[in-house]
Protein backbone atom coordinates (compact mmCIF):
# COMPACT_ATOMS: atom_id res chain seq x y z
CA UNK A 1 0.00 0.00 0.00
CA UNK A 2 1.45 3.33 -0.96
CA UNK A 3 1.31 6.17 1.49
CA UNK A 4 3.11 8.85 -0.48
CA UNK A 5 0.13 11.27 -0.13
CA UNK A 6 0.39 10.94 3.65
CA UNK A 7 4.01 12.11 3.57
CA UNK A 8 3.05 15.09 1.39
CA UNK A 9 0.26 16.06 3.81
CA UNK A 10 2.61 15.69 6.77
CA UNK A 11 5.26 17.80 5.03
CA UNK A 12 2.64 20.55 4.57
CA UNK A 13 1.67 20.20 8.24
CA UNK A 14 5.35 20.56 9.15
CA UNK A 15 5.70 23.69 7.02
CA UNK A 16 2.53 25.07 8.61
CA UNK A 17 3.75 24.38 12.13
CA UNK A 18 7.08 26.09 11.39
CA UNK A 19 5.17 29.13 10.13
CA UNK A 20 2.90 29.21 13.20
CA UNK A 21 5.94 28.90 15.44
CA UNK A 22 7.49 31.90 13.65
CA UNK A 23 4.29 33.91 14.05
CA UNK A 24 4.05 33.85 17.82
CA UNK A 25 6.36 35.44 20.32
CA UNK A 26 6.74 38.32 22.72
CA UNK A 27 7.29 40.79 19.91
CA UNK A 28 4.08 41.13 17.84
CA UNK A 29 4.59 40.35 14.16
CA UNK A 30 1.75 39.88 11.68
CA UNK A 31 1.58 36.82 9.36
CA UNK A 32 2.18 39.10 6.34
CA UNK A 33 5.28 40.53 7.96
CA UNK A 34 6.57 37.01 8.61
CA UNK A 35 6.13 35.95 4.98
CA UNK A 36 7.57 39.27 3.87
CA UNK A 37 10.61 38.80 6.05
CA UNK A 38 11.17 35.22 4.88
CA UNK A 39 10.84 35.82 1.17
CA UNK A 40 11.92 39.50 0.89
CA UNK A 41 14.31 40.16 3.77
CA UNK A 42 14.78 43.84 4.51
CA UNK A 43 17.02 44.96 7.38
CA UNK A 44 15.05 46.07 10.41
CA UNK A 45 13.77 44.92 13.76
CA UNK A 46 11.23 42.49 12.28
CA UNK A 47 13.94 40.76 10.28
CA UNK A 48 16.21 40.58 13.30
CA UNK A 49 13.51 38.96 15.42
CA UNK A 50 12.56 36.48 12.70
CA UNK A 51 16.00 35.55 11.41
CA UNK A 52 18.16 35.85 14.51
CA UNK A 53 15.77 34.88 17.31
CA UNK A 54 12.80 32.86 16.19
CA UNK A 55 13.99 30.94 13.15
CA UNK A 56 17.04 29.33 14.83
CA UNK A 57 14.93 28.37 17.82
CA UNK A 58 12.09 26.98 15.71
CA UNK A 59 14.49 24.99 13.55
CA UNK A 60 16.19 23.62 16.66
CA UNK A 61 12.83 22.60 18.12
CA UNK A 62 11.84 20.84 14.91
CA UNK A 63 15.16 18.98 14.65
CA UNK A 64 14.90 17.87 18.29
CA UNK A 65 11.39 16.52 17.84
CA UNK A 66 12.26 14.76 14.59
CA UNK A 67 15.34 13.14 16.11
CA UNK A 68 13.54 11.94 19.23
CA UNK A 69 10.63 10.47 17.28
CA UNK A 70 12.99 8.73 14.84
CA UNK A 71 15.05 7.35 17.69
CA UNK A 72 11.86 6.08 19.33
CA UNK A 73 10.80 4.20 16.20
CA UNK A 74 14.23 2.59 15.88
CA UNK A 75 14.44 1.50 19.51
CA UNK A 76 10.91 0.09 19.46
CA UNK A 77 11.93 -2.16 16.55
CA UNK A 78 15.27 -3.08 18.06
CA UNK A 79 13.93 -3.95 21.51
CA UNK A 80 10.56 -5.15 20.23
CA UNK A 81 9.11 -3.38 23.22
CA UNK A 82 6.36 -0.80 22.83
CA UNK A 83 7.61 1.06 25.92
CA UNK A 84 11.03 1.73 24.44
CA UNK A 85 11.83 5.42 24.10
CA UNK A 86 15.05 7.34 23.35
CA UNK A 87 15.89 7.51 27.05
CA UNK A 88 15.50 3.84 27.88
CA UNK A 89 19.12 2.90 27.16
CA UNK A 90 20.62 5.39 29.59
CA UNK A 91 22.09 7.51 26.82
CA UNK A 92 20.26 10.64 27.90
CA UNK A 93 21.19 9.93 31.50
CA UNK A 94 24.88 9.82 30.56
CA UNK A 95 24.52 13.00 28.55
CA UNK A 96 22.73 14.78 31.38
CA UNK A 97 25.28 13.66 33.94
CA UNK A 98 28.13 14.96 31.76
CA UNK A 99 26.44 18.29 31.08
CA UNK A 100 25.32 18.92 34.67
CA UNK A 101 28.73 18.02 36.10
CA UNK A 102 30.29 20.56 33.75
CA UNK A 103 27.71 23.21 34.70
CA UNK A 104 28.36 22.56 38.38
CA UNK A 105 32.10 22.89 37.85
CA UNK A 106 31.47 26.24 36.17
CA UNK A 107 32.28 25.26 32.59
CA UNK A 108 31.03 27.42 29.74
CA UNK A 109 28.67 26.41 26.95
CA UNK A 110 31.40 24.70 24.90
CA UNK A 111 32.75 22.91 27.94
CA UNK A 112 29.38 21.59 29.03
CA UNK A 113 28.55 20.44 25.51
CA UNK A 114 31.82 18.56 25.35
CA UNK A 115 31.18 16.98 28.75
CA UNK A 116 27.67 16.04 27.64
CA UNK A 117 29.07 14.36 24.53
CA UNK A 118 31.61 12.50 26.65
CA UNK A 119 28.86 11.33 28.99
CA UNK A 120 26.77 10.16 26.04
CA UNK A 121 29.63 8.24 24.43
CA UNK A 122 30.48 6.68 27.79
CA UNK A 123 26.90 5.44 28.22
CA UNK A 124 26.73 4.15 24.62
CA UNK A 125 30.00 2.25 25.08
CA UNK A 126 28.97 0.70 28.40
CA UNK A 127 25.59 -0.48 27.11
CA UNK A 128 27.05 -1.78 23.84
CA UNK A 129 29.98 -3.49 25.55
CA UNK A 130 27.77 -5.30 28.02
CA UNK A 131 25.04 -6.46 25.66
CA UNK A 132 26.88 -7.25 22.43
CA UNK A 133 28.91 -10.41 22.86
CA UNK A 134 30.51 -12.63 20.26
CA UNK A 135 28.73 -10.97 17.36
CA UNK A 136 25.30 -11.39 18.77
CA UNK A 137 22.86 -9.25 20.67
CA UNK A 138 21.11 -10.25 23.80
CA UNK A 139 18.11 -7.95 23.74
CA UNK A 140 16.98 -8.69 27.28
CA UNK A 141 20.42 -7.84 28.55
CA UNK A 142 20.45 -4.70 26.38
CA UNK A 143 17.15 -3.52 27.81
CA UNK A 144 18.07 -4.36 31.41
CA UNK A 145 21.53 -2.81 31.10
CA UNK A 146 19.93 0.37 29.82
CA UNK A 147 17.33 0.47 32.56
CA UNK A 148 19.87 -0.24 35.31
CA UNK A 149 22.29 2.33 33.93
CA UNK A 150 19.49 4.93 33.70
CA UNK A 151 18.64 4.33 37.34
CA UNK A 152 22.30 4.82 38.25
CA UNK A 153 22.51 8.06 36.30
CA UNK A 154 19.29 9.31 37.88
CA UNK A 155 20.78 8.72 41.33
CA UNK A 156 23.97 10.57 40.42
CA UNK A 157 21.98 13.44 38.90
CA UNK A 158 19.88 13.71 42.06
CA UNK A 159 23.11 13.87 44.04
CA UNK A 160 24.42 16.67 41.80
CA UNK A 161 21.15 18.58 42.17
CA UNK A 162 21.34 18.30 45.94
CA UNK A 163 24.90 19.58 45.99
CA UNK A 164 24.32 22.36 43.43
CA UNK A 165 24.26 25.98 44.64
CA UNK A 166 20.91 27.73 44.41
CA UNK A 167 22.00 29.94 41.51
CA UNK A 168 22.67 27.03 39.19
CA UNK A 169 19.81 24.81 40.25
CA UNK A 170 17.19 26.40 38.01
CA UNK A 171 19.27 26.05 34.84
CA UNK A 172 20.05 22.44 35.70
CA UNK A 173 16.39 21.61 36.31
CA UNK A 174 15.38 23.21 33.01
CA UNK A 175 18.02 21.13 31.24
CA UNK A 176 16.56 17.99 32.76
CA UNK A 177 13.02 18.87 31.79
CA UNK A 178 13.95 19.69 28.23
CA UNK A 179 14.53 23.31 27.35
CA UNK A 180 15.22 24.96 24.02
CA UNK A 181 15.86 28.52 25.18
CA UNK A 182 19.58 28.23 24.54
CA UNK A 183 19.25 26.15 21.39
CA UNK A 184 20.30 28.06 18.32
CA UNK A 185 22.88 26.26 16.17
CA UNK A 186 20.96 23.22 14.94
CA UNK A 187 22.96 22.51 11.74
CA UNK A 188 24.51 19.36 13.19
CA UNK A 189 21.18 18.10 14.47
CA UNK A 190 19.58 18.62 11.06
CA UNK A 191 22.43 16.76 9.42
CA UNK A 192 22.01 13.80 11.79
CA UNK A 193 18.23 13.86 11.36
CA UNK A 194 18.43 13.81 7.56
CA UNK A 195 21.07 11.10 7.55
CA UNK A 196 19.35 8.77 10.04
CA UNK A 197 15.91 9.10 8.44
CA UNK A 198 17.35 8.59 4.95
CA UNK A 199 19.49 5.58 5.84
CA UNK A 200 16.81 3.75 7.77
CA UNK A 201 14.02 4.58 5.34
CA UNK A 202 16.14 2.91 2.68
CA UNK A 203 16.64 0.03 5.14
CA UNK A 204 12.90 -0.11 5.90
CA UNK A 205 12.45 -3.55 4.37
CA UNK A 206 14.96 -4.95 6.86
CA UNK A 207 13.23 -3.15 9.72
CA UNK A 208 9.89 -4.62 8.64
CA UNK A 209 11.42 -8.10 8.62
CA UNK A 210 13.12 -7.56 11.98
CA UNK A 211 9.77 -6.56 13.49
CA UNK A 212 8.79 -10.24 13.02
CA UNK A 213 11.53 -11.31 15.42
CA UNK A 214 15.25 -11.95 15.00
CA UNK A 215 14.92 -15.65 14.11
CA UNK A 216 12.29 -15.02 11.46
CA UNK A 217 14.25 -12.09 10.02
CA UNK A 218 17.35 -14.30 9.77
CA UNK A 219 15.30 -16.98 8.03
CA UNK A 220 14.21 -14.39 5.49
CA UNK A 221 17.82 -13.44 4.72
CA UNK A 222 18.41 -10.44 7.02
CA UNK A 223 21.92 -10.11 8.49
CA UNK A 224 20.40 -9.49 11.90
CA UNK A 225 23.54 -8.80 13.98
CA UNK A 226 24.78 -6.00 11.74
CA UNK A 227 21.32 -4.52 11.39
CA UNK A 228 20.81 -4.45 15.15
CA UNK A 229 24.16 -2.72 15.64
CA UNK A 230 23.26 -0.16 12.97
CA UNK A 231 19.89 0.49 14.63
CA UNK A 232 21.50 0.83 18.05
CA UNK A 233 24.08 3.37 16.87
CA UNK A 234 21.58 5.19 14.66
CA UNK A 235 19.19 5.60 17.58
CA UNK A 236 22.05 6.53 19.91
CA UNK A 237 23.39 9.25 17.60
CA UNK A 238 19.89 10.65 17.05
CA UNK A 239 19.24 10.74 20.81
CA UNK A 240 22.56 12.40 21.59
CA UNK A 241 22.06 15.04 18.87
CA UNK A 242 18.61 15.86 20.27
CA UNK A 243 19.65 15.87 23.93
CA UNK A 244 22.69 18.08 23.29
CA UNK A 245 20.38 20.61 21.65
CA UNK A 246 17.36 20.60 23.90
CA UNK A 247 17.98 18.49 26.99
CA UNK A 248 15.71 15.59 27.88
CA UNK A 249 12.47 16.54 26.13
CA UNK A 250 10.15 13.78 27.20
CA UNK A 251 7.26 11.96 25.61
CA UNK A 252 7.97 12.70 21.95
CA UNK A 253 9.93 9.52 21.28
CA UNK A 254 7.26 7.27 22.68
CA UNK A 255 4.13 9.18 21.73
CA UNK A 256 4.71 10.12 18.09
CA UNK A 257 5.50 6.60 16.75
CA UNK A 258 2.59 5.09 18.67
CA UNK A 259 0.17 7.78 17.51
CA UNK A 260 1.17 7.05 13.91
CA UNK A 261 0.88 3.30 14.42
CA UNK A 262 -2.55 3.70 15.96
CA UNK A 263 -3.49 5.79 12.93
CA UNK A 264 -2.52 2.79 10.78
CA UNK A 265 1.01 3.68 9.65
CA UNK A 266 3.09 0.59 10.42
CA UNK A 267 5.29 0.01 7.40
CA UNK A 268 8.67 1.52 8.33
CA UNK A 269 8.99 2.83 4.80
CA UNK A 270 6.42 5.48 5.78
CA UNK A 271 6.60 5.32 9.57
CA UNK A 272 10.15 6.73 9.75
CA UNK A 273 9.73 9.85 7.60
CA UNK A 274 6.23 10.39 9.02
CA UNK A 275 7.56 10.18 12.60
CA UNK A 276 10.31 12.69 11.84
CA UNK A 277 7.80 15.14 10.37
CA UNK A 278 5.18 14.72 13.11
CA UNK A 279 7.78 14.74 15.91
CA UNK A 280 9.34 17.91 14.52
CA UNK A 281 6.01 19.71 14.08
CA UNK A 282 4.90 18.63 17.53
CA UNK A 283 7.94 19.97 19.35
CA UNK A 284 7.99 23.16 17.26
CA UNK A 285 4.39 23.85 18.34
CA UNK A 286 4.97 22.79 21.94
CA UNK A 287 7.94 25.13 22.11
CA UNK A 288 5.81 27.96 20.76
CA UNK A 289 3.48 27.41 23.72
CA UNK A 290 6.45 27.25 26.06
CA UNK A 291 7.70 30.61 24.76
CA UNK A 292 4.40 32.47 24.70
CA UNK A 293 1.95 31.18 27.32
CA UNK A 294 3.72 32.77 30.27
CA UNK A 295 5.65 35.40 28.30
CA UNK A 296 8.06 36.93 28.89
CA UNK A 297 8.76 34.02 31.23
CA UNK A 298 9.94 31.00 29.21
CA UNK A 299 8.85 27.55 30.33
CA UNK A 300 10.62 24.23 29.66
CA UNK A 301 9.27 22.70 26.45
CA UNK A 302 9.30 19.21 28.00
CA UNK A 303 6.35 20.20 30.21
CA UNK A 304 4.31 21.06 27.13
CA UNK A 305 5.22 18.00 25.08
CA UNK A 306 3.74 15.94 27.90
CA UNK A 307 0.75 18.22 28.51
CA UNK A 308 -0.15 18.18 24.81
CA UNK A 309 0.84 14.59 24.22
CA UNK A 310 -0.98 12.81 27.02
CA UNK A 311 -4.53 13.73 25.90
CA UNK A 312 -3.72 13.01 22.23
CA UNK A 313 -2.43 9.55 23.04
CA UNK A 314 -5.30 8.82 25.43
CA UNK A 315 -7.83 9.78 22.75
CA UNK A 316 -6.10 7.56 20.20
CA UNK A 317 -5.97 4.67 22.65
CA UNK A 318 -9.64 4.93 23.56
CA UNK A 319 -10.71 4.92 19.91
CA UNK A 320 -9.80 1.27 19.50
CA UNK A 321 -11.55 -1.56 21.36
Amino acid sequence: MTRAPLIIVLALVAAGSLLIALLFGTFPISPLQVLDSIFLPTPGIVDDVIWKLRLPRVLAAFACGGLLATSGVLLQVLLRNPLADPYILGISGGTALGALTAVLLGAGVAGSNLAALAGALGAIAIVFGLSFRAGDWNLHRLLLTGVVLSAGFTALISLLLTLAPQAQLRGMLFWLMGDLSHADASGGAWFVLTLVVLVFTLKSRSLNALALGALKARALGVAVGGLQSAIYFGAAVATVAAVLLGGSIGFVGIMVPHALRLAGVNDHRWLLPASALVGGSFVALADTFARTVWAPQQLPVGVFTALLGVPVLLILLSRRP
Binding site: L215, V222, A223
Partner: protein
Amino acid sequence: MNLRADQLTIAVGTRVLCRDLALAMVPGELWGVLGCNGSGKTTLLHALAGLAPPASGNIAIEGRALADYSRRQLGRALGILLQREDQEFWGTVRDYVMLGRYPHARALFGWHADDEAAAEHALAAFDLTALAEQTYGTLSGGERQRARLAQLWAQAPRIMLLDEPLQHLDLRHQLQALQLLRKATREEGAAAALVLHDLTFAASCDRILMLYGDGRFAAGSAAELLQPERLATLYGCGIRAFGEGAGAHFIPVI
Protein backbone atom coordinates in the same frame (compact mmCIF):
# COMPACT_ATOMS: atom_id res chain seq x y z
CA MET B 1 20.83 -27.39 -5.43
CA ASN B 2 21.84 -29.92 -2.83
CA LEU B 3 22.42 -29.65 0.89
CA ARG B 4 24.83 -32.01 2.61
CA ALA B 5 25.47 -32.51 6.29
CA ASP B 6 28.40 -34.54 7.58
CA GLN B 7 29.11 -35.82 11.07
CA LEU B 8 26.43 -33.51 12.34
CA THR B 9 25.80 -33.62 16.07
CA ILE B 10 22.71 -31.90 17.42
CA ALA B 11 22.51 -31.07 21.09
CA VAL B 12 20.37 -28.95 23.34
CA GLY B 13 22.39 -27.88 26.35
CA THR B 14 24.40 -30.97 27.30
CA ARG B 15 21.80 -33.42 25.96
CA VAL B 16 22.95 -34.95 22.64
CA LEU B 17 19.87 -35.63 20.52
CA CYS B 18 21.50 -36.89 17.35
CA ARG B 19 25.11 -37.96 16.82
CA ASP B 20 27.18 -38.06 13.60
CA LEU B 21 24.29 -37.60 11.23
CA ALA B 22 25.03 -37.74 7.51
CA LEU B 23 22.31 -36.31 5.32
CA ALA B 24 22.13 -35.43 1.63
CA MET B 25 19.16 -33.47 0.34
CA VAL B 26 19.17 -33.58 -3.45
CA PRO B 27 16.86 -31.98 -6.06
CA GLY B 28 13.59 -33.80 -6.59
CA GLU B 29 13.55 -35.55 -3.23
CA LEU B 30 11.14 -35.00 -0.39
CA TRP B 31 12.37 -35.96 3.08
CA GLY B 32 10.09 -36.67 6.00
CA VAL B 33 11.61 -36.08 9.44
CA LEU B 34 9.96 -38.15 12.18
CA GLY B 35 10.50 -38.39 15.90
CA CYS B 36 8.90 -37.91 19.28
CA ASN B 37 8.47 -34.51 20.93
CA GLY B 38 11.83 -33.13 21.96
CA SER B 39 13.83 -35.51 19.77
CA GLY B 40 15.63 -32.64 18.03
CA LYS B 41 13.66 -32.23 14.80
CA THR B 42 13.34 -28.46 15.09
CA THR B 43 16.90 -28.04 16.34
CA LEU B 44 18.12 -30.05 13.35
CA LEU B 45 16.15 -27.90 10.92
CA HIS B 46 17.49 -24.71 12.52
CA ALA B 47 21.03 -26.03 12.21
CA LEU B 48 20.51 -26.97 8.56
CA ALA B 49 19.10 -23.49 7.88
CA GLY B 50 22.08 -21.83 9.56
CA LEU B 51 19.90 -20.26 12.23
CA ALA B 52 21.76 -21.90 15.10
CA PRO B 53 25.16 -23.56 14.88
CA PRO B 54 25.17 -27.35 15.43
CA ALA B 55 27.17 -28.82 18.32
CA SER B 56 29.62 -30.08 15.70
CA GLY B 57 29.75 -31.10 12.07
CA ASN B 58 29.68 -29.57 8.61
CA ILE B 59 26.77 -28.34 6.53
CA ALA B 60 27.27 -27.28 2.92
CA ILE B 61 25.09 -26.17 0.03
CA GLU B 62 26.55 -27.03 -3.40
CA GLY B 63 29.78 -27.98 -1.66
CA ARG B 64 30.17 -24.58 -0.04
CA ALA B 65 29.88 -24.26 3.75
CA LEU B 66 26.86 -22.38 5.09
CA ALA B 67 29.13 -19.88 6.84
CA ASP B 68 30.58 -18.83 3.46
CA TYR B 69 27.20 -17.59 2.28
CA SER B 70 25.95 -14.14 3.15
CA ARG B 71 22.58 -14.14 4.90
CA ARG B 72 20.95 -12.77 1.77
CA GLN B 73 22.51 -15.37 -0.55
CA LEU B 74 21.40 -18.04 1.88
CA GLY B 75 17.88 -16.62 1.87
CA ARG B 76 17.74 -17.07 -1.90
CA ALA B 77 19.02 -20.65 -1.80
CA LEU B 78 17.35 -21.95 1.32
CA GLY B 79 14.08 -21.19 3.06
CA ILE B 80 12.66 -22.42 6.34
CA LEU B 81 9.11 -22.50 7.60
CA LEU B 82 9.37 -21.99 11.33
CA GLN B 83 7.16 -23.95 13.66
CA ARG B 84 6.20 -20.86 15.62
CA GLU B 85 6.26 -17.14 15.06
CA ASP B 86 6.01 -15.22 18.28
CA GLN B 87 5.69 -11.75 16.90
CA GLU B 88 2.47 -10.27 15.62
CA PHE B 89 2.52 -8.76 12.16
CA TRP B 90 1.13 -5.27 11.58
CA GLY B 91 0.18 -5.38 7.92
CA THR B 92 -2.06 -7.13 5.45
CA VAL B 93 -1.67 -10.73 4.30
CA ARG B 94 -0.11 -9.41 1.09
CA ASP B 95 2.42 -7.30 3.05
CA TYR B 96 3.32 -10.43 5.00
CA VAL B 97 3.77 -12.63 1.94
CA MET B 98 5.79 -9.87 0.22
CA LEU B 99 8.40 -10.11 2.99
CA GLY B 100 9.29 -13.50 1.53
CA ARG B 101 10.81 -11.56 -1.38
CA TYR B 102 13.31 -9.92 1.00
CA PRO B 103 16.39 -11.81 -0.22
CA HIS B 104 15.49 -11.17 -3.86
CA ALA B 105 14.61 -7.48 -3.57
CA ARG B 106 16.61 -5.18 -5.81
CA ALA B 107 14.53 -2.01 -5.59
CA LEU B 108 16.02 0.67 -3.35
CA PHE B 109 12.62 1.54 -1.93
CA GLY B 110 9.58 -0.70 -2.22
CA TRP B 111 9.30 -3.69 -4.54
CA HIS B 112 9.81 -4.58 -8.20
CA ALA B 113 7.00 -5.84 -10.40
CA ASP B 114 8.44 -9.39 -10.43
CA ASP B 115 8.48 -9.44 -6.61
CA GLU B 116 4.83 -8.46 -6.62
CA ALA B 117 4.03 -11.09 -9.26
CA ALA B 118 5.75 -13.80 -7.20
CA ALA B 119 3.78 -12.80 -4.10
CA GLU B 120 0.53 -12.75 -6.07
CA HIS B 121 1.27 -16.21 -7.43
CA ALA B 122 2.04 -17.56 -3.95
CA LEU B 123 -1.16 -16.04 -2.55
CA ALA B 124 -3.18 -17.75 -5.29
CA ALA B 125 -1.44 -21.10 -4.72
CA PHE B 126 -2.64 -21.18 -1.11
CA ASP B 127 -6.17 -19.81 -1.72
CA LEU B 128 -5.33 -16.50 -0.09
CA THR B 129 -6.15 -14.09 -2.90
CA ALA B 130 -9.53 -13.20 -1.37
CA LEU B 131 -7.85 -12.56 2.01
CA ALA B 132 -4.91 -10.59 0.59
CA GLU B 133 -6.08 -7.19 1.86
CA GLN B 134 -7.07 -8.45 5.31
CA THR B 135 -4.91 -7.64 8.31
CA TYR B 136 -2.71 -10.64 9.10
CA GLY B 137 -3.72 -10.46 12.76
CA THR B 138 -7.37 -11.15 11.90
CA LEU B 139 -6.61 -14.53 10.26
CA SER B 140 -7.46 -17.85 11.86
CA GLY B 141 -4.70 -20.28 12.85
CA GLY B 142 -5.00 -22.31 9.67
CA GLU B 143 -5.14 -19.22 7.47
CA ARG B 144 -2.00 -17.93 9.14
CA GLN B 145 -0.27 -21.22 8.45
CA ARG B 146 -1.23 -20.89 4.78
CA ALA B 147 0.10 -17.31 4.76
CA ARG B 148 3.41 -18.58 6.17
CA LEU B 149 3.56 -21.26 3.49
CA ALA B 150 2.75 -18.64 0.86
CA GLN B 151 5.57 -16.47 2.18
CA LEU B 152 7.96 -19.39 1.72
CA TRP B 153 6.57 -19.92 -1.79
CA ALA B 154 7.19 -16.25 -2.59
CA GLN B 155 10.76 -16.67 -1.31
CA ALA B 156 11.04 -19.58 -3.79
CA PRO B 157 14.19 -21.24 -2.38
CA ARG B 158 15.62 -24.34 -4.04
CA ILE B 159 16.06 -25.99 -0.66
CA MET B 160 13.04 -25.93 1.64
CA LEU B 161 12.92 -26.93 5.28
CA LEU B 162 9.43 -27.04 6.76
CA ASP B 163 8.74 -27.48 10.45
CA GLU B 164 5.28 -29.03 10.77
CA PRO B 165 3.95 -27.44 7.57
CA LEU B 166 0.55 -29.11 7.91
CA GLN B 167 -0.24 -27.96 11.45
CA HIS B 168 -3.60 -26.16 11.87
CA LEU B 169 -4.58 -26.88 8.24
CA ASP B 170 -7.94 -28.44 7.37
CA LEU B 171 -7.86 -31.74 5.45
CA ARG B 172 -8.25 -30.17 2.02
CA HIS B 173 -5.47 -27.66 2.62
CA GLN B 174 -3.21 -30.34 4.12
CA LEU B 175 -3.59 -32.29 0.92
CA GLN B 176 -3.14 -29.17 -1.21
CA ALA B 177 0.03 -28.15 0.64
CA LEU B 178 1.46 -31.63 0.26
CA GLN B 179 0.64 -31.68 -3.45
CA LEU B 180 2.35 -28.30 -3.91
CA LEU B 181 5.40 -29.66 -2.10
CA ARG B 182 5.40 -32.75 -4.32
CA LYS B 183 5.15 -30.53 -7.37
CA ALA B 184 7.97 -28.27 -6.17
CA THR B 185 10.27 -31.25 -5.66
CA ARG B 186 9.36 -33.69 -8.41
CA GLU B 187 8.54 -31.24 -11.19
CA GLU B 188 10.50 -28.13 -10.30
CA GLY B 189 13.58 -29.77 -8.83
CA ALA B 190 13.53 -28.35 -5.32
CA ALA B 191 14.84 -30.33 -2.36
CA ALA B 192 12.63 -30.34 0.71
CA ALA B 193 12.48 -31.77 4.22
CA LEU B 194 9.34 -31.76 6.35
CA VAL B 195 8.87 -32.40 10.02
CA LEU B 196 5.68 -34.44 10.27
CA HIS B 197 3.60 -36.24 12.86
CA ASP B 198 1.08 -37.65 10.39
CA LEU B 199 2.46 -40.95 9.10
CA THR B 200 -0.04 -41.11 6.25
CA PHE B 201 1.53 -37.99 4.80
CA ALA B 202 5.00 -39.30 5.62
CA ALA B 203 4.19 -42.21 3.33
CA SER B 204 4.20 -39.88 0.33
CA CYS B 205 7.74 -38.70 1.09
CA ASP B 206 10.64 -40.25 -0.81
CA ARG B 207 12.98 -40.58 2.11
CA ILE B 208 12.57 -40.69 5.86
CA LEU B 209 14.81 -39.53 8.69
CA MET B 210 13.97 -40.89 12.12
CA LEU B 211 15.37 -39.16 15.19
CA TYR B 212 15.24 -41.21 18.40
CA GLY B 213 16.28 -38.31 20.63
CA ASP B 214 19.10 -40.26 22.31
CA GLY B 215 21.79 -39.76 19.69
CA ARG B 216 20.58 -42.53 17.33
CA PHE B 217 18.96 -41.91 14.00
CA ALA B 218 17.82 -43.87 10.97
CA ALA B 219 17.74 -42.61 7.39
CA GLY B 220 16.56 -44.36 4.25
CA SER B 221 13.77 -44.82 1.74
CA ALA B 222 10.19 -44.47 2.92
CA ALA B 223 9.37 -48.05 1.98
CA GLU B 224 12.25 -49.35 4.05
CA LEU B 225 11.68 -47.25 7.17
CA LEU B 226 7.91 -46.94 7.42
CA GLN B 227 7.51 -50.39 8.97
CA PRO B 228 5.25 -50.97 11.99
CA GLU B 229 8.07 -52.42 14.12
CA ARG B 230 10.41 -49.52 13.42
CA LEU B 231 7.67 -46.97 14.03
CA ALA B 232 6.69 -48.73 17.26
CA THR B 233 10.28 -48.38 18.49
CA LEU B 234 10.43 -44.74 17.40
CA TYR B 235 7.20 -43.63 19.05
CA GLY B 236 7.07 -46.12 21.89
CA CYS B 237 3.59 -47.36 21.08
CA GLY B 238 2.13 -50.13 18.95
CA ILE B 239 1.35 -49.17 15.35
CA ARG B 240 -0.57 -51.09 12.68
CA ALA B 241 -0.16 -50.47 8.95
CA PHE B 242 -2.81 -50.78 6.26
CA GLY B 243 -1.95 -50.70 2.58
CA GLU B 244 1.35 -50.29 0.80
CA GLY B 245 3.67 -47.52 -0.45
CA ALA B 246 2.39 -43.97 -0.84
CA GLY B 247 -1.16 -45.09 0.01
CA ALA B 248 -0.22 -46.68 3.33
CA HIS B 249 -2.11 -45.79 6.50
CA PHE B 250 -0.86 -46.14 10.05
CA ILE B 251 -2.98 -46.35 13.16
CA PRO B 252 -1.74 -46.47 16.74
CA VAL B 253 -2.86 -49.56 18.61
CA ILE B 254 -4.95 -48.64 21.61
